[in-house]
Amino acid sequence: MAYKISPDLQLRMRSAAATQPLRIIVRHQESPTFMRAAAHALRTGEIAIRRQYRLVSATVLELPAAHLDVLMQDDTVEYIWPDLPVHTCLDVSVPRIRAPQVWNLGLRGEGMRIAILDTGIDPQHPDFAGRIAAMTSFVGGDGSDDNGHGTHVAGIAAGSGAASNGRFRGVAPAASLYIAKVLDSNGDGLMSNVMAGIEWAVAHNVHVINLSLGGDTPGDGSDALSTLCDQVVRQLGIVICVAAGNHGPANSTIGAPGVARRVITVGAVDDTDHVASFSSRGPTLDGRLKPDIVFPGTGIVSARATNARVGRPIQPHYAELSGTSMATPHATGAVALLLQANPNLKPEDVKRALLGGAIDLNEMPTAQGSGRGDLLAAYQRAMRPVPAQPEEVASENWWGQLRRVLGSIW
Protein backbone atom coordinates (compact mmCIF):
# COMPACT_ATOMS: atom_id res chain seq x y z
CA MET A 1 0.00 0.00 0.00
CA ALA A 2 3.02 2.29 0.34
CA TYR A 3 2.78 3.00 -3.40
CA LYS A 4 -0.15 5.23 -2.54
CA ILE A 5 2.06 7.58 -0.56
CA SER A 6 4.41 10.08 -2.16
CA PRO A 7 8.11 9.52 -1.35
CA ASP A 8 8.46 12.83 0.51
CA LEU A 9 5.48 11.98 2.70
CA GLN A 10 6.98 8.56 3.44
CA LEU A 11 10.12 10.33 4.65
CA ARG A 12 8.04 12.57 6.91
CA MET A 13 6.14 9.58 8.30
CA ARG A 14 9.38 7.92 9.38
CA SER A 15 10.43 10.90 11.43
CA ALA A 16 6.99 11.89 12.73
CA ALA A 17 5.66 10.80 16.10
CA ALA A 18 2.40 8.83 15.91
CA THR A 19 0.41 11.68 17.39
CA GLN A 20 2.04 14.42 15.34
CA PRO A 21 -0.53 16.10 13.11
CA LEU A 22 0.20 15.94 9.41
CA ARG A 23 -1.46 17.99 6.72
CA ILE A 24 -2.00 15.94 3.57
CA ILE A 25 -3.73 16.04 0.20
CA VAL A 26 -5.71 12.88 -0.56
CA ARG A 27 -6.82 12.01 -4.09
CA HIS A 28 -9.75 9.64 -3.87
CA GLN A 29 -12.48 8.08 -5.96
CA GLU A 30 -15.78 9.87 -6.48
CA SER A 31 -17.29 7.50 -4.00
CA PRO A 32 -19.40 8.07 -0.92
CA THR A 33 -17.26 5.55 0.95
CA PHE A 34 -14.40 7.95 1.44
CA MET A 35 -16.61 10.76 2.57
CA ARG A 36 -18.50 8.47 4.98
CA ALA A 37 -15.21 7.37 6.50
CA ALA A 38 -14.02 10.95 6.65
CA ALA A 39 -17.28 12.07 8.22
CA HIS A 40 -16.96 9.36 10.86
CA ALA A 41 -13.39 10.36 11.64
CA LEU A 42 -14.49 13.98 11.72
CA ARG A 43 -17.13 13.18 14.34
CA THR A 44 -14.60 11.43 16.50
CA GLY A 45 -12.28 14.39 16.22
CA GLU A 46 -9.46 12.37 14.68
CA ILE A 47 -9.39 14.13 11.33
CA ALA A 48 -9.97 17.71 10.30
CA ILE A 49 -11.05 18.45 6.74
CA ARG A 50 -9.27 21.63 5.64
CA ARG A 51 -10.39 21.91 2.03
CA GLN A 52 -12.31 19.96 -0.61
CA TYR A 53 -11.64 20.53 -4.29
CA ARG A 54 -14.38 20.54 -6.87
CA LEU A 55 -12.47 20.09 -10.11
CA VAL A 56 -10.55 17.03 -8.90
CA SER A 57 -11.63 14.44 -6.34
CA ALA A 58 -9.22 15.48 -3.65
CA THR A 59 -9.40 16.64 -0.07
CA VAL A 60 -6.94 18.34 2.27
CA LEU A 61 -6.92 16.63 5.66
CA GLU A 62 -5.10 17.12 8.93
CA LEU A 63 -4.69 13.98 10.99
CA PRO A 64 -2.28 12.22 13.37
CA ALA A 65 0.56 10.46 11.53
CA ALA A 66 -0.59 7.07 12.85
CA HIS A 67 -3.89 7.37 10.96
CA LEU A 68 -2.15 7.36 7.59
CA ASP A 69 -1.97 3.55 7.70
CA VAL A 70 -5.75 3.35 7.94
CA LEU A 71 -6.15 5.78 5.08
CA MET A 72 -3.76 3.78 2.88
CA GLN A 73 -5.90 0.68 3.25
CA ASP A 74 -9.04 2.47 2.13
CA ASP A 75 -9.83 1.24 -1.40
CA THR A 76 -11.24 4.59 -2.42
CA VAL A 77 -7.97 6.40 -1.66
CA GLU A 78 -5.74 6.66 -4.75
CA TYR A 79 -2.75 8.74 -3.65
CA ILE A 80 -1.55 10.87 -0.73
CA TRP A 81 0.85 13.83 -0.79
CA PRO A 82 2.06 16.13 1.99
CA ASP A 83 0.47 19.60 1.79
CA LEU A 84 3.68 21.56 1.52
CA PRO A 85 4.14 25.33 1.86
CA VAL A 86 4.59 27.02 -1.50
CA HIS A 87 6.27 30.18 -2.76
CA THR A 88 4.75 32.10 -5.60
CA CYS A 89 8.05 32.96 -7.29
CA LEU A 90 8.05 35.54 -10.05
CA ASP A 91 8.41 32.60 -12.42
CA VAL A 92 4.94 31.56 -11.25
CA SER A 93 3.10 34.82 -10.57
CA VAL A 94 4.27 36.60 -13.72
CA PRO A 95 3.12 33.79 -16.05
CA ARG A 96 -0.13 33.57 -14.06
CA ILE A 97 -1.03 37.11 -15.16
CA ARG A 98 0.03 36.14 -18.72
CA ALA A 99 2.90 38.59 -19.01
CA PRO A 100 5.12 36.26 -21.08
CA GLN A 101 2.49 36.20 -23.84
CA VAL A 102 2.80 39.98 -24.02
CA TRP A 103 6.63 39.77 -23.97
CA ASN A 104 6.32 37.50 -27.00
CA LEU A 105 4.68 40.40 -28.82
CA GLY A 106 7.91 42.35 -28.41
CA LEU A 107 6.87 44.30 -25.31
CA ARG A 108 9.18 44.20 -22.29
CA GLY A 109 8.97 47.80 -21.14
CA GLU A 110 11.71 49.30 -23.32
CA GLY A 111 11.57 53.09 -23.09
CA MET A 112 9.03 53.04 -20.27
CA ARG A 113 9.74 54.97 -17.07
CA ILE A 114 8.54 53.44 -13.81
CA ALA A 115 8.82 55.32 -10.50
CA ILE A 116 9.04 53.27 -7.33
CA LEU A 117 8.43 55.34 -4.18
CA ASP A 118 9.42 53.07 -1.33
CA THR A 119 12.40 52.23 0.91
CA GLY A 120 14.87 52.73 -1.96
CA ILE A 121 16.69 50.15 -4.03
CA ASP A 122 19.88 48.10 -3.90
CA PRO A 123 21.68 49.71 -6.85
CA GLN A 124 24.19 46.86 -6.99
CA HIS A 125 21.57 44.17 -7.53
CA PRO A 126 22.28 42.50 -10.90
CA ASP A 127 18.58 42.50 -11.81
CA PHE A 128 18.59 46.30 -12.20
CA ALA A 129 21.98 46.75 -13.86
CA GLY A 130 22.04 49.76 -16.17
CA ARG A 131 18.35 50.54 -15.72
CA ILE A 132 18.23 52.79 -12.64
CA ALA A 133 17.81 56.11 -14.41
CA ALA A 134 17.64 58.23 -11.24
CA MET A 135 17.45 57.74 -7.50
CA THR A 136 16.95 60.10 -4.60
CA SER A 137 15.84 60.14 -0.99
CA PHE A 138 13.40 62.26 0.98
CA VAL A 139 14.27 60.62 4.29
CA GLY A 140 18.06 60.98 4.29
CA GLY A 141 20.71 59.03 2.45
CA ASP A 142 21.01 58.53 -1.29
CA GLY A 143 18.10 56.23 -2.00
CA SER A 144 19.93 53.00 -1.21
CA ASP A 145 17.64 50.43 0.34
CA ASP A 146 18.29 49.81 4.04
CA ASN A 147 15.09 47.83 4.52
CA GLY A 148 14.63 45.53 1.51
CA HIS A 149 10.99 46.30 0.75
CA GLY A 150 11.65 48.71 -2.12
CA THR A 151 14.14 46.41 -3.85
CA HIS A 152 11.64 43.54 -3.68
CA VAL A 153 8.88 45.73 -5.11
CA ALA A 154 11.15 47.01 -7.91
CA GLY A 155 12.07 43.42 -8.79
CA ILE A 156 8.42 42.48 -9.27
CA ALA A 157 7.73 45.50 -11.48
CA ALA A 158 10.91 45.46 -13.54
CA GLY A 159 13.60 43.02 -12.37
CA SER A 160 15.50 41.41 -15.24
CA GLY A 161 16.14 38.14 -13.43
CA ALA A 162 19.84 38.41 -14.31
CA ALA A 163 20.92 36.87 -11.00
CA SER A 164 18.68 33.86 -11.55
CA ASN A 165 19.33 33.20 -15.24
CA GLY A 166 16.04 34.89 -16.03
CA ARG A 167 13.95 32.80 -13.66
CA PHE A 168 12.83 35.57 -11.31
CA ARG A 169 11.97 38.15 -13.94
CA GLY A 170 9.58 41.03 -13.26
CA VAL A 171 6.62 42.06 -15.37
CA ALA A 172 8.37 44.82 -17.37
CA PRO A 173 12.00 43.65 -17.29
CA ALA A 174 13.36 46.26 -19.69
CA ALA A 175 11.76 49.37 -18.16
CA SER A 176 13.80 52.20 -16.65
CA LEU A 177 13.52 52.76 -12.92
CA TYR A 178 13.16 56.05 -11.06
CA ILE A 179 13.68 55.40 -7.38
CA ALA A 180 12.57 57.75 -4.59
CA LYS A 181 13.21 56.65 -1.04
CA VAL A 182 10.24 57.95 0.97
CA LEU A 183 10.21 55.30 3.73
CA ASP A 184 12.95 54.84 6.33
CA SER A 185 14.82 51.69 7.32
CA ASN A 186 11.75 50.52 9.28
CA GLY A 187 9.48 51.00 6.29
CA ASP A 188 7.84 54.06 7.89
CA GLY A 189 7.34 57.56 6.55
CA LEU A 190 5.02 60.53 6.35
CA MET A 191 2.48 61.50 3.73
CA SER A 192 4.45 64.66 2.98
CA ASN A 193 7.51 62.60 2.00
CA VAL A 194 5.39 60.59 -0.42
CA MET A 195 3.94 63.79 -1.87
CA ALA A 196 7.46 65.14 -2.38
CA GLY A 197 8.39 61.86 -4.07
CA ILE A 198 5.42 62.13 -6.41
CA GLU A 199 6.45 65.66 -7.43
CA TRP A 200 9.98 64.35 -8.09
CA ALA A 201 8.65 61.50 -10.23
CA VAL A 202 6.42 63.89 -12.17
CA ALA A 203 9.45 66.11 -12.84
CA HIS A 204 11.15 63.06 -14.37
CA ASN A 205 8.19 62.55 -16.68
CA VAL A 206 7.56 58.97 -15.62
CA HIS A 207 4.75 56.91 -17.17
CA VAL A 208 3.63 55.09 -14.02
CA ILE A 209 4.18 55.46 -10.28
CA ASN A 210 4.14 52.54 -7.83
CA LEU A 211 3.04 53.21 -4.24
CA SER A 212 3.29 50.00 -2.21
CA LEU A 213 2.51 51.95 0.94
CA GLY A 214 -0.31 53.64 2.77
CA GLY A 215 -1.88 54.81 5.98
CA ASP A 216 -3.79 52.58 8.35
CA THR A 217 -6.75 54.91 8.86
CA PRO A 218 -9.73 54.27 6.57
CA GLY A 219 -10.29 57.27 4.33
CA ASP A 220 -12.63 59.02 1.93
CA GLY A 221 -10.00 60.32 -0.49
CA SER A 222 -10.10 63.96 0.62
CA ASP A 223 -6.65 63.93 2.29
CA ALA A 224 -3.76 65.80 0.69
CA LEU A 225 -1.90 62.71 -0.57
CA SER A 226 -4.98 61.18 -2.21
CA THR A 227 -5.94 64.55 -3.68
CA LEU A 228 -2.45 64.97 -5.15
CA CYS A 229 -2.60 61.47 -6.65
CA ASP A 230 -5.94 62.20 -8.30
CA GLN A 231 -4.61 65.47 -9.65
CA VAL A 232 -1.50 63.83 -11.13
CA VAL A 233 -3.61 61.17 -12.85
CA ARG A 234 -6.24 63.57 -14.17
CA GLN A 235 -4.16 66.59 -15.12
CA LEU A 236 -0.82 65.05 -16.03
CA GLY A 237 -1.92 61.69 -17.41
CA ILE A 238 0.38 59.62 -15.21
CA VAL A 239 -0.93 56.27 -13.98
CA ILE A 240 -0.54 55.55 -10.25
CA CYS A 241 -0.87 52.05 -8.76
CA VAL A 242 -1.43 51.89 -5.00
CA ALA A 243 -1.50 49.02 -2.50
CA ALA A 244 -4.91 48.51 -0.90
CA GLY A 245 -3.26 47.70 2.43
CA ASN A 246 -2.87 44.71 4.70
CA HIS A 247 -5.68 45.39 7.16
CA GLY A 248 -8.24 42.85 5.93
CA PRO A 249 -10.47 40.96 6.06
CA ALA A 250 -12.73 43.56 7.70
CA ASN A 251 -14.60 45.94 5.40
CA SER A 252 -13.63 49.60 4.90
CA THR A 253 -9.99 49.06 5.82
CA ILE A 254 -8.34 50.89 2.92
CA GLY A 255 -6.39 53.99 3.88
CA ALA A 256 -4.81 56.83 1.90
CA PRO A 257 -3.72 56.95 -0.87
CA GLY A 258 -5.48 53.69 -1.80
CA VAL A 259 -8.79 55.52 -1.40
CA ALA A 260 -7.94 58.07 -4.11
CA ARG A 261 -10.54 58.01 -6.88
CA ARG A 262 -8.36 57.83 -9.98
CA VAL A 263 -5.52 55.58 -8.88
CA ILE A 264 -5.54 51.84 -9.50
CA THR A 265 -5.94 50.32 -6.04
CA VAL A 266 -4.56 46.81 -5.85
CA GLY A 267 -5.47 43.99 -3.47
CA ALA A 268 -3.72 40.62 -3.16
CA VAL A 269 -4.64 37.05 -4.06
CA ASP A 270 -2.91 33.88 -2.91
CA ASP A 271 -1.51 31.14 -5.12
CA THR A 272 -4.98 29.60 -5.52
CA ASP A 273 -6.54 32.88 -6.68
CA HIS A 274 -8.43 33.50 -3.46
CA VAL A 275 -8.30 37.02 -2.07
CA ALA A 276 -5.75 36.99 0.76
CA SER A 277 -7.33 37.46 4.16
CA PHE A 278 -4.91 40.29 4.95
CA SER A 279 -5.84 42.22 1.82
CA SER A 280 -7.73 45.38 2.81
CA ARG A 281 -11.36 45.61 1.75
CA GLY A 282 -13.57 48.43 0.56
CA PRO A 283 -15.74 50.33 0.33
CA THR A 284 -14.12 53.69 1.05
CA LEU A 285 -15.58 55.75 3.86
CA ASP A 286 -17.60 57.73 1.30
CA GLY A 287 -19.06 54.56 -0.19
CA ARG A 288 -16.98 54.00 -3.33
CA LEU A 289 -15.89 50.58 -4.48
CA LYS A 290 -12.25 49.74 -3.80
CA PRO A 291 -9.96 47.92 -4.40
CA ASP A 292 -10.09 48.13 -8.18
CA ILE A 293 -8.32 44.86 -8.95
CA VAL A 294 -6.24 42.11 -7.33
CA PHE A 295 -2.89 40.58 -8.30
CA PRO A 296 -0.70 37.81 -6.78
CA GLY A 297 0.67 38.94 -3.42
CA THR A 298 1.40 35.99 -1.14
CA GLY A 299 4.79 34.34 -0.79
CA ILE A 300 6.27 36.24 -3.74
CA VAL A 301 9.97 35.62 -4.39
CA SER A 302 11.70 38.67 -5.84
CA ALA A 303 14.93 40.69 -5.62
CA ARG A 304 16.63 40.86 -2.22
CA ALA A 305 18.68 43.88 -1.15
CA THR A 306 22.09 43.19 0.37
CA ASN A 307 21.02 45.06 3.53
CA ALA A 308 17.52 43.59 3.64
CA ARG A 309 15.80 43.55 7.03
CA VAL A 310 12.57 42.07 5.72
CA GLY A 311 11.69 38.96 3.76
CA ARG A 312 12.73 35.34 4.00
CA PRO A 313 15.94 34.77 2.05
CA ILE A 314 15.52 32.14 -0.67
CA GLN A 315 18.81 32.62 -2.51
CA PRO A 316 21.54 35.24 -1.99
CA HIS A 317 19.82 37.63 -4.40
CA TYR A 318 16.19 36.75 -3.71
CA ALA A 319 13.71 36.74 -0.82
CA GLU A 320 10.08 35.96 -0.16
CA LEU A 321 7.55 38.55 1.00
CA SER A 322 3.77 38.79 1.15
CA GLY A 323 1.45 41.77 1.04
CA THR A 324 -0.56 44.03 -1.20
CA SER A 325 2.82 45.74 -1.67
CA MET A 326 3.83 42.70 -3.74
CA ALA A 327 0.57 42.66 -5.71
CA THR A 328 0.85 46.34 -6.68
CA PRO A 329 4.06 46.18 -8.76
CA HIS A 330 2.51 43.37 -10.82
CA ALA A 331 -0.08 45.99 -11.82
CA THR A 332 2.57 48.68 -12.30
CA GLY A 333 4.62 46.49 -14.64
CA ALA A 334 1.44 45.60 -16.51
CA VAL A 335 0.61 49.29 -16.95
CA ALA A 336 4.10 49.94 -18.36
CA LEU A 337 3.61 47.23 -21.00
CA LEU A 338 0.12 48.48 -21.91
CA LEU A 339 1.43 52.02 -22.36
CA GLN A 340 4.33 50.70 -24.44
CA ALA A 341 1.84 48.85 -26.63
CA ASN A 342 -0.42 51.86 -27.05
CA PRO A 343 1.14 55.20 -26.03
CA ASN A 344 -2.12 57.00 -26.78
CA LEU A 345 -3.87 55.44 -23.82
CA LYS A 346 -4.98 57.84 -21.12
CA PRO A 347 -4.93 56.70 -17.48
CA GLU A 348 -8.65 55.98 -17.57
CA ASP A 349 -8.14 53.83 -20.70
CA VAL A 350 -5.38 51.87 -18.96
CA LYS A 351 -7.54 51.36 -15.91
CA ARG A 352 -10.51 50.32 -18.02
CA ALA A 353 -8.40 47.80 -19.95
CA LEU A 354 -6.94 46.28 -16.79
CA LEU A 355 -10.27 46.10 -14.96
CA GLY A 356 -12.16 44.92 -18.03
CA GLY A 357 -9.67 42.13 -18.66
CA ALA A 358 -9.64 40.94 -15.05
CA ILE A 359 -10.80 37.42 -14.22
CA ASP A 360 -13.84 37.36 -11.96
CA LEU A 361 -12.97 35.27 -8.88
CA ASN A 362 -16.56 35.23 -7.63
CA GLU A 363 -15.61 37.03 -4.46
CA MET A 364 -17.18 40.20 -3.07
CA PRO A 365 -16.45 43.30 -5.18
CA THR A 366 -15.19 44.94 -2.01
CA ALA A 367 -12.52 42.23 -1.80
CA GLN A 368 -11.59 41.50 -5.43
CA GLY A 369 -12.64 44.70 -7.23
CA SER A 370 -13.09 43.63 -10.84
CA GLY A 371 -11.10 40.44 -10.30
CA ARG A 372 -7.57 39.13 -10.76
CA GLY A 373 -5.50 40.97 -13.33
CA ASP A 374 -4.76 39.28 -16.67
CA LEU A 375 -2.22 41.21 -18.71
CA LEU A 376 -2.90 39.52 -22.04
CA ALA A 377 -6.64 40.20 -21.78
CA ALA A 378 -5.89 43.80 -20.77
CA TYR A 379 -3.52 44.12 -23.73
CA GLN A 380 -6.22 42.92 -26.13
CA ARG A 381 -8.58 45.54 -24.74
CA ALA A 382 -5.92 48.25 -24.81
CA MET A 383 -5.37 47.68 -28.53
CA ARG A 384 -9.04 48.05 -29.45
CA PRO A 385 -10.44 51.39 -30.59
CA VAL A 386 -11.67 53.12 -27.43
CA PRO A 387 -15.42 53.82 -27.38
CA ALA A 388 -16.66 56.93 -25.60
CA GLN A 389 -16.97 56.18 -21.89
CA PRO A 390 -17.80 58.11 -18.76
CA GLU A 391 -14.65 59.78 -17.50
CA GLU A 392 -14.40 58.01 -14.16
CA VAL A 393 -13.84 54.29 -13.87
CA ALA A 394 -14.70 52.15 -10.88
CA SER A 395 -15.61 55.04 -8.65
CA GLU A 396 -19.33 54.43 -8.62
CA ASN A 397 -21.10 53.91 -5.36
CA TRP A 398 -20.24 50.37 -4.29
CA TRP A 399 -23.88 49.52 -3.76
CA GLY A 400 -24.46 50.36 -7.40
CA GLN A 401 -21.66 48.06 -8.47
CA LEU A 402 -22.81 45.33 -6.09
CA ARG A 403 -26.33 45.57 -7.52
CA ARG A 404 -24.89 45.25 -11.02
CA VAL A 405 -22.84 42.20 -10.06
CA LEU A 406 -25.72 40.56 -8.22
CA GLY A 407 -28.01 41.38 -11.11
CA SER A 408 -25.75 39.44 -13.45
CA ILE A 409 -25.83 36.47 -11.07
CA TRP A 410 -29.60 36.55 -10.60
Binding site: H149, L190, M191, S192, E199, G215
Partner: protein
Protein backbone atom coordinates in the same frame (compact mmCIF):
# COMPACT_ATOMS: atom_id res chain seq x y z
CA UNK B 1 -14.47 72.06 2.17
CA UNK B 2 -13.92 72.63 5.87
CA UNK B 3 -10.46 73.87 6.81
CA UNK B 4 -9.95 71.26 9.52
CA UNK B 5 -11.83 68.16 10.62
CA UNK B 6 -13.61 68.43 13.97
CA UNK B 7 -11.53 65.47 15.20
CA UNK B 8 -8.24 67.25 14.51
CA UNK B 9 -9.63 70.48 16.00
CA UNK B 10 -10.44 68.64 19.23
CA UNK B 11 -7.08 66.89 19.28
CA UNK B 12 -5.13 70.13 18.87
CA UNK B 13 -7.28 71.94 21.42
CA UNK B 14 -6.76 69.20 23.98
CA UNK B 15 -2.98 69.69 24.08
CA UNK B 16 -2.15 73.12 22.63
CA UNK B 17 1.56 72.97 23.52
CA UNK B 18 2.24 69.66 21.79
CA UNK B 19 4.30 69.55 18.61
CA UNK B 20 2.43 68.44 15.50
CA UNK B 21 3.32 67.66 11.89
CA UNK B 22 0.86 69.13 9.42
CA UNK B 23 0.15 69.53 5.74
CA UNK B 24 -1.22 73.00 5.02
CA UNK B 25 -2.89 73.57 1.66
CA UNK B 26 -2.47 77.15 0.51
CA UNK B 27 -4.22 79.49 -1.89
CA UNK B 28 -1.57 79.54 -4.61
CA UNK B 29 2.23 79.36 -4.41
CA UNK B 30 3.17 78.40 -0.84
CA UNK B 31 6.44 80.37 -1.08
CA UNK B 32 4.43 83.55 -0.57
CA UNK B 33 3.43 82.45 2.89
CA UNK B 34 6.74 81.19 4.24
CA UNK B 35 7.52 84.40 6.19
CA UNK B 36 4.11 84.28 7.86
CA UNK B 37 4.53 80.59 8.73
CA UNK B 38 7.94 81.33 10.27
CA UNK B 39 6.41 84.20 12.22
CA UNK B 40 3.84 81.79 13.61
CA UNK B 41 6.63 79.51 14.78
CA UNK B 42 6.41 76.79 12.17
CA UNK B 43 9.37 74.94 10.72
CA UNK B 44 8.69 74.39 7.04
CA UNK B 45 9.60 71.12 5.35
CA UNK B 46 8.58 70.18 1.83
CA UNK B 47 6.83 72.72 -0.36
CA UNK B 48 4.37 71.39 -2.90
CA UNK B 49 3.65 72.93 -6.28
CA UNK B 50 1.18 70.52 -7.91
CA UNK B 51 -1.18 70.72 -4.95
CA UNK B 52 -0.06 74.04 -3.46
CA UNK B 53 0.89 73.59 0.14
CA UNK B 54 3.61 72.96 2.69
CA UNK B 55 4.57 70.38 5.27
CA UNK B 56 5.24 72.07 8.61
CA UNK B 57 6.00 71.27 12.23
CA UNK B 58 4.83 73.48 15.05
CA UNK B 59 2.74 73.87 18.20
CA UNK B 60 -0.88 72.73 18.21
CA UNK B 61 -1.86 76.24 19.37
CA UNK B 62 -0.28 77.77 16.25
CA UNK B 63 -1.99 75.14 14.10
CA UNK B 64 -5.36 76.33 15.38
CA UNK B 65 -4.36 79.92 14.57
CA UNK B 66 -3.87 78.90 10.94
CA UNK B 67 -7.65 78.68 10.64
CA UNK B 68 -7.79 82.48 10.86
CA UNK B 69 -5.46 82.95 7.89
CA UNK B 70 -7.36 83.69 4.67
CA UNK B 71 -4.75 81.99 2.47
CA UNK B 72 -5.05 78.68 4.35
CA UNK B 73 -7.40 76.34 2.51
CA UNK B 74 -7.02 73.23 4.64
CA UNK B 75 -4.99 71.95 7.58
CA UNK B 76 -4.53 68.24 8.16
CA UNK B 77 -2.18 65.96 10.01
CA UNK B 78 0.89 64.75 8.17
CA UNK B 79 -0.08 61.16 8.77
CA UNK B 80 2.26 58.20 8.97
CA UNK B 81 2.44 55.77 6.06
CA UNK B 82 4.09 52.37 6.06
CA UNK B 83 5.26 49.78 3.63
CA UNK B 84 2.47 47.31 2.90
Amino acid sequence: MEKMTPALHRKLGASPDSMVALIVRTDGDPARYLPRLAEMGFVVGHQFRLLPGVAVRGRARAALSLLDEAWVLRVEEDQPVTAM
